[in-house]
Amino acid sequence: MAKTAIALTVNGEAVEALVEPRTLLVHFLREQLNLTGTHIGCDTTHCGACTVDFDGRSVKSCTLFAVQAEGAEIRTIEGMAGADGTLHPLQEGFREMHGLQCGFCTPGMIMRAYRLLQENPRPTEDEIRTGMAGNLCRCTGYQNIVRAIQFAAAKIAGDSLQEAAE
């Protein structure tokens, strides 16, 4: 099958590649770009483990073809920590609040939460739960994921961490 040339930005870096048109975005990221932090959990667009940020929206990268990302700006979990290694408040929040166990859902969770907080910087618990409803976790029961996102929201807003922990 003939390959198609695509040009896009991934985690701030320009990427040019040749892909078979049917290559799923998630496979492109994982296998061609070696960004294996984005996971595959279901294949049917339900689990959200493959969530990445795509032109300012959260998408499930198992349900897009890489060719659709032509010209797109993509951010994956690997692009979340600062250049100097400082963790994003969400990464910190997930650790502080024990928002992960096996860690398999975590990159997708963080990427979705990242966009959620852009859309709604101070979500209520209910808004977090509906905002995260496209991401499944088999380990945590979500309660600590909610707290992790609240922690990050507070930290981004500059609240004292004491308050966030409550």
Binding site: G41, Q101, G141
Partner: protein, 806 residues
Amino acid sequence: MNEISETREAREARLQGLGCKRKRVEDIRFTQGKGSYVDDLKLPGMLFGDFHRSPYGHARVKSIDTSKAKAVPGVLAVLTAADLKPLKLDWMPTLAGDVQAVLAGDKVLFQGQEIAFVVATDRYIAADAADLIEVEYEELPALVDPFKAMAEGAPILREDIKDKTEGAHGKRKHPNHIFTWEIGDHETTDLAFRDAEVTIKELISYQRVHPCPLETCQSVASFDKIKGELTVWGTFQAPHVVRTVAAILSGIPEHKIHVIAPDIGGGFGNKVGVYPGYVCAIVASIVTGRPVKWVEDRIENLSATAFARDYHMTTEIAATKAGKVTGLRVHVLADHGAFDACADPSKWPAGFFNIVTGSYDFPTAHVTVDGVYTNKAPGGVAYRCSFRVTEAAYCIERAMDILAQKLGLDPAELRMRNFIRREQFPYHSALGWEYDSGDYHTAMQKALDTVGYQALRAEQRAKQEAFRRGETREVMGIGVSFFTEIVGAGPSKNCDILGIAMFDSAEIRIHPTGAVIARMGTKSQGQSHETTYAQIIASEIGIPADDVMVEEGNTDTAPYGLGTYGSRSTPTAAAATAMACRKIKAKAQMIAAHLLEVHHDDVEFDIDRFRVKGMPERFKTMKDIAWTAYNAPPPGLEPGLEAVSYYDPPNMTYPFGAYICVMDIDLDTGVAKVRRFYALDDCGTRINPMIIEGQVHGGLTEAFAIAMGQEIAYDEIGNVKGASFMDFFLPTAVETPKWETDFTVTPSPHHPIGAKGVGESPNVGGVPAFSNAVNDALAFLGATHIQMPHDAWRIWKAAEALGAQG
């Protein structure tokens, strides 16, 4: 506050030892996408394998044509049973003493069964080629209902063993029969029923479900022809067992097999067994001389690897009118699917189902279990529970509610009247276990008081009245569950897998600078071992947890162990950890005494140091001692500071807990909403409360999913219905209730640190709590027992059958 105690506190805090809410070590890599899961692995020249699977539940395979698949550019090999047969690998032994087809030969026995394995240069080509394999079938009648398995004229499934009248667990009554397992006292139990004032009898079914971790099963096999060595990376909860099985199957010497379980994305019992995919990847690597990766997709996972439950339990209780139980009788019909591939300890074909007397003082009991074959996927694994313990807990907790209803007693009160009392421990149950410790009344009372149980019952009565007056269509249920688990398999006197005793191990090495590496025979899949084992070590030998690296999963470096499932890591490997630490400490004491120039009886351990008794200012820290161990060991002592422990537990541990669920059900739609869920757990000594709470949240969420909707269902011709996340119920954050956790602490008397294991309690205790709530809500309309799963339509239908749908 005086100075000295402050320092001690600071010293203790620095250790981050037992009981502290240490943040997880694992999270640093996981939150940055730097975990290393199997599918992340990329090796030069790596190939990809994919299966062609049976569309039929039961059919004869007339012919397999792989020519079109082999013609696809990029395909290197296609394996079928005919290719495996000369290698004697077309069948493999299961952990339950049966055999399982690696690739189907003459017959397929369940939908999704593996028929051919395509090996290609990438997964896209492998998938294309797998589609091009042409199989000619002759469809056979499928056997789906386990109750019909031994009926006259039932289709015979396992032609390979149809004439065998002896199975791995004794006599077989029918070609579709696997075993009968019997325990308890038949006669005294019959007498108890003969003399009973009150009896109940109910068929309590626990539907077929699936552990369904978020990461599916996967592996990479790489055979080095020149060295004759095989390396296998995989989603293995028990890597050492996989190595042993691989050695037995392949004939490759065990020391030339390297099994590595990297980070695992959840297991819950799904990743204990050995699957055809692992075997085919290994064979394919041997055949092609290149590494071969196999990754199942979600539909394959749900329909082919390791279901759980499918237990149909006819349950009877005998009791007095005053509500004292006098006997328990259970017959289980166990649907094992096409092969008996349970991962139970070898001598336990029904696992530890004989914990079914639960938390109650039954004077006598009798249990029989019949395992049968059906045209369904094999498995029967312990899905977030110890072997068949959740089935047992569901059985007894449901039955106690049914008895309470019959007696007109409150279900909490009935439990209180029958609990094993604190002074009865260690308690010998009618079915042969020795419960190590417990304080059930205290736990139950705390739960009832916390939720305001009496007030809830009053509210429920008021709502029932309103319902009867036609003012509301909402009813309220209160589900009470009090479970006793049996975990930590287990003592070599009664537990082995393939003849290997179910000990576990720890090897701890203190480096000269006082940094530590510790390796265990278990394997975390999210249970936070890297964090918690280090806490045990910190408390035991006084080196900060941050200076301890815990490593698991590499069979070359880790000591032999039986892996992680059945909540066994804490009872076994954590105990081994403590024991290894104590060996180190004993040596450290000698070194300290030598350095302090006193007799070793004159020094004592103090948090992170040894000090001279009565002279706290004269001490040597563990760091000093470690250096000395390598630098100038005392005369007569070997240099170095390390120890290994293989811990054979003297008994199982018996965590318990009291759970209460408050539920509102809209009878117009059948939709149930959990208003409140309170979970009190007693898992003995609490190693890390944060992690315990996380485990409880997760386990309750799984229990909620099971009780309220999960099911791997088959239609009458053996098609799996709904093997994807569209139908298989995994709740999102929206459906998941909020959890309240609580605890009491009754340490295990025989465990070195008193811990019992907690990962599975919430599943075991949670399922009956939800189910009892549903049943309790409809009891006033006349319901006695409504089968799970309690999804909306089934609740609606149950209400309809009770005449509550207008």
